[in-house]
Amino acid sequence: MIKKLLLMAMIICFFSSCAVVKEYEKVNINDPDMALSEKKCDRNLTTAHSYREAAVGANGGKTGGGCGCN
C-alpha cells in the first residue's frame, strides 16, 4: 500500500512539473474526445459493469448504492 501511495505521489509530482499550457494552446485539449470522462452514451455500459463486476469507482460511474448490485 505504501509503495502504491509513493508511486502516486511520484506521478503527481511528474504531472505538476509540466509547462503551463496557455488557453490559446488548448484547442486539441478541448476536443470532445480528449475529455477525462466517459462519453454520455457509455453511461449505461458503465452501469452494466457496476451490476456485474465487483470493482466500482474511480471511473465516474456508480460507487455503490442506488441499485441492488454489487
Partner: protein, 433 residues
C-alpha cells in the same frame, strides 16, 4: 415542454440582467436522449445457487436536461427508466411456469420482469473566474423490490491557469430492500413469509433426492443498505496534446449486502429437488459491512487531427478480499469533420470474494457464503465499436432544438466462464436555439 419554456424564460431574463461580460458556463439548454439495449447469458445464475440460466435483456431510456439558470449556475435533471426481463429472476419462483421447474428454463411468474426508474437533480455553481465549482445533487430510484434515496456534493478547484484541477466529492445512499425470498423458503412450515400471489405450496409437490427437506433458513432482520462514498480527483494538462487524471474513491457499505433471493446449496447437506429444480439450503449470507477502495487513472493523447488515444486503468480492492484490475483503450478516428469511429478494447479481472464457492461447495457451518459468480474469480474481455455524427452548427431541428450529435456504439463482453453480454447504446444531443 413547460420545463423547457420556464427554463428558457428564466435563462433569458438572467442573461438580460448581466452587466459584466463573462462566458456562460453553459450557453444554452442542452438535452441528451440516451438509450441502450442490453442482453446477457450464462449458466451460473446466482438466483439458482450458481446453476442455471443467466439470460436477461434490458432496455433503458434516459433524458438529461441541462439548464443554464444564469451565467454561473446550471440545473441538470436526469430521468431514466429501465425495463428488464430476466430468466434467472423468474426462478425466484420456478414452479409457476407451464413446464417442469428447471434452473435452465425461465419460469413465467411476475418476478421475471421489473422496471427501474430514477430521477436525479443536480445543481452546480461556478465562481466568476471559473476556478471554483460547487455542485450538489439528490436522487431517487425505485424498482419492485428496491428503493434508494441519495444525496451528494462536490467541490472542484482549478489553478495553474486551469492546467491543474483538484476535486473532492461525497455521496450517501440510503437504500432498502423489499425482502422477497425463493418460493420454497416462503412456504408455510419453512419459516418464511408466504406472501406471494402464486399460491405455491410445497406439500403439493413430490420432493426427490432427500425427501426430508429442512432448510436452515432464517429471514433477514434488516432490509436497509447504506452506502457512503468519498472521492478525490486530480487532473493535469501535461502538454498541449496530452492530459491525464487520477481518481481515488473510498466506499463504505453497511446493512443488507446479500441479495435476498439468491440461493445457496451446501456440500454438507443432502440435495432435495422438485422436478428438475434443486431446493435452496439457504440464502446467500454476506457480511453486513464492506469497504472498497478504487484508484484509477486516465491518460488521453491527441495524436493528430485524425487519431486520439484514450486510456484508462483502475486498481480495486475491498475487505471481502476481492482485488481487481481494469484497463481499457479507445482510439477515436475522425474520418471526416462530422464522423468519428470508436474502436475500443477493455480488460477486466478480479479475484474471488472470501465467501464465494461453487454450487454445492459451500458449508452450512460457515458464517458467510454465496455462489454469486459476480463475486467469483474471472477475467473478461470487451471489444467495442462505435460511430458518432457531430454537427457543430446543429442545423437539423426538432421544434426549437438543433441536433448536435448522434452516438451509436456496440460492445461485446466475454468472461472466461460461460457468461457473455452485449450492449447497443445510442445517444442524441440537442441544443436549444
Amino acid at each position: 415542454m413547460c420545463l423547457f419554456a420556464f427554463a428558457e424564460a428564466y435563462s433569458q431574463t438572467s442573461q438580460d440582467s448581466s452587466k459584466v461580460y463573462k462566458k456562460r458556463v453553459l450557453e444554452t439548454i442542452e438535452v441528451d436522449f440516451l438509450s441502450s439495449y442490453y442482453s446477457q447469458d450464462g449458466d451460473n445464475a446466482a438466483v439458482s445457487g450458481g446453476i442455471g440460466t443467466e439470460e436477461l435483456t434490458d432496455v433503458t431510456g434516459t433524458i438529461v436536461v441541462a439548464i443554464p439558470l444564469n451565467d454561473d449556475d446550471v440545473l441538470t435533471i436526469d430521468a431514466g427508466v429501465s425495463a428488464y426481463t430476466s430468466a434467472s429472476s423468474s426462478n425466484v419462483n420456478p414452479f409457476d411456469g407451464g413446464q417442469p421447474a428447471d434452473p435452465f428454463v425461465a419460469s413465467s411468474g411476475a418476478s421475471g420482469a421489473d422496471t427501474w426508474a430514477n430521477v436525479t437533480a443536480s445543481y452546480s455553481h461556478s465562481s466568476d473566474d471559473r476556478n471554483d465549482i460547487w455542485s450538489a445533487k439528490v436522487s431517487i430510484s425505485s424498482e419492485y423490490d428496491y428503493f434508494s434515496a441519495g444525496v451528494g456534493g462536490s467541490y472542484t478547484k482549478l489553478f495553474n491557469e486551469k492546467n491543474t484541477e483538484l476535486s473532492v466529492s461525497g455521496n450517501v445512499f440510503i437504500d432498502s430492500w423489499s425482502l422477497i425470498y425463493p418460493s420454497e423458503l416462503r412456504a408455510p412450515g419453512n419459516g418464511g413469509d408466504d406472501d406471494d400471489d402464486d399460491d405455491f405450496n410445497i406439500n403439493n409437490y413430490t420432493i426427490t433426492g432427500n425427501p426430508n427437506y429442512a432448510p436452515q433458513f432464517i429471514p433477514f432482520n434488516n432490509s436497509g443498505r447504506n452506502s457512503y462514498s468519498l472521492g478525490f480527483g486530480f487532473s493535469q494538462i501535461l502538454h498541449k496534446n496530452v492530459q491525464g487524471s487520477l481518481a481515488l474513491d473510498f466506499v463504505k457499505q453497511q446493512g443488507l449486502l446479500s441479495t435476498p433471493f439468491q440461493r445457496v446449496y451446501f456440500a454438507d447437506v443432502e440435495d432435495s429437488f422438485i422436478e428438475n429444480f434443486q431446493l435452496a439450503d439457504d440464502l446467500e449470507r454476506l457480511p453486513d459491512s464492506r469497504f472498497k477502495v478504487a484508484v484509477g487513472g486516465r491518460l488521453n493523447w491527441y495524436l493528430n487531427e485524425t487519431f486520439t488515444v484514450r486510456t484508462f486503468y483502475r486498481y480495486y480492492f475491498d475487505d471481502w478480499r476481492i482485488i481487481s484490475h481494469t484497463a481499457s483503450i479507445e482510439v477515436p478516428i475522425k474520418i471526416t469533420d462530422k464522423f468519428t469511429l470508436y474502436p475500443s478494447y477493455r480488460f477486466y479481472n478480479q479475484t474471488a470474494a472470501d465467501y464465494f464457492a461453487l454450487a454445492n461447495e459451500n458449508l452450512s457451518t460457515s458464517d458467510f457464503y454465496t455462489s454469486d459468480y459476480d463475486l467469483s474469480e474471472y477475467s473478461a474481455n470487451q471489444f467495442g465499436f462505435g460511430v458518432s455524427y457531430t454537427d457543430i452548427f446543429a442545423k437539423a431541428h426538432i421544434w426549437k432544438f438543433g441536433l448536435k450529435s448522434i452516438d451509436l456504439k456496440f460492445y461485446q463482453y466475454d468472461r472466461d466462464t460461460t457468461f457473455t453480454s452485449s450492449i447497443i447504446t445510442a445517444g442524441f444531443k440537442f441544443v436549444m436555439d
